[in-house]
Structure formats: C-alpha cells, structure tokens
Symmetry: C2
Subunit: 96 residues, 2 copies
C-alpha cells in the first residue's frame, strides 16, 4: 500500500469554502482505501488530507479521473499552497 | 470526529518486531473509524499511526481496553520514543 499525509493551505478566509468543495467533490476512486479530509485545528488556513492507496500508481492515476479534475479546477483559485507532504507505507489496521 | 497522526520510534533494529506486535494486537475498538499502521520510509525506526475517532473521549477510553493494554505492555520495551504528534478535525471522505 501507499500512504500520503499532506497539509494544504487555503487562501485567507477561504478554508471553509475549500473544505466544502473537497467534501462535495469526493467520490470513490479505484484503488483508494482511505481518504480523510480534516481541518487543522492549529492553523487558520490548514487542511490535512490523509490517504491510503493500493499503490503509488493508483494515486497518480486518480489525478486523471474526471471528477477529480473537476474538483481540482474548482478548488485551485482558493488554494494558497501546500505545506507538509509525508509519504508512508501502510501495512494494516482498521478502515482500509 | 477526532483525528490523530503520530510517529513512534522503535528501539534500534526493532521496527519490524514493533510493527508485528501492533498489527497482531490490532482489533476493532468502540468509536474508532480508522486506524492505520504504517512504516515511515524516510527513517530506519519510524512508524506512523493515523487514527480517526468519533470523539477525543473515545480515543482516551480505548487506552483502557484489555487488548490495547496488552499490546502496550508487549510493545513498550521496544519503543524508543515518540516524535510528531498531530491532532486533526476529520470532516469526511472515504474509509470512515
């Protein structure tokens, strides 16, 4: 499995709008075992995304899915940037 | 919901043994929506745990479960310490 934990930064004052776009746009993706969208309580603009995929390739492929591309297009104007980006090798647990 | 991402450090040379204890000891816990055990590919001794709970209280309560206490007792001698500890507010996604 392939894991990702990333923190995205919303444009000032736009975190709730960005969260709404991401939550609305979320739909099952092939090879995706877990995808969690979370507010970062330590900052005004941070959003944590934690993901578990069957493989790194499954994650790369997902970026071409029409609903993912539509969400990226909608979200882009209110994304200020990206902070932490952490890759992991998930082995097991619950919710996968 | 209440989220946690933490990095645990195994004693030198003990990461695979610690992972085995954690994977074997893992069982469903009340109020736990996701619990992922992962190797940290950027270090020799790191293990990432990412968790989503119904509430912070559900996480606190889980530490008293007999199977959790048994796993902690088994793991303790080969845990060198804890590094990152990040709390989040999960809102939605897949695998919850």
């Amino acid at each position: 499995m392939y894991g990702l934990m990333g923190r995205m930064l919303a444009a000032p004052g736009e975190r709730e709008a960005l969260l709404a776009i991401m939550l609305e746009g979320h739909a099952p993706m092939p090879g995706c075992r877990s995808y969690v969208i979370a507010r970062d309580p330590k900052s005004e603009d941070g959003i944590w995304i934690t993901e578990v995929w069957d493989s790194k390739q499954a994650h790369t492929d997902s970026l071409q899915l029409p609903h993912v591309q539509a969400t990226i297009a909608k979200a882009k104007p209110i994304i200020a940037g990206f902070a932490e980006f952490i890759e992991t090798e998930p082995l097991g647990g619950s919710g996968l």
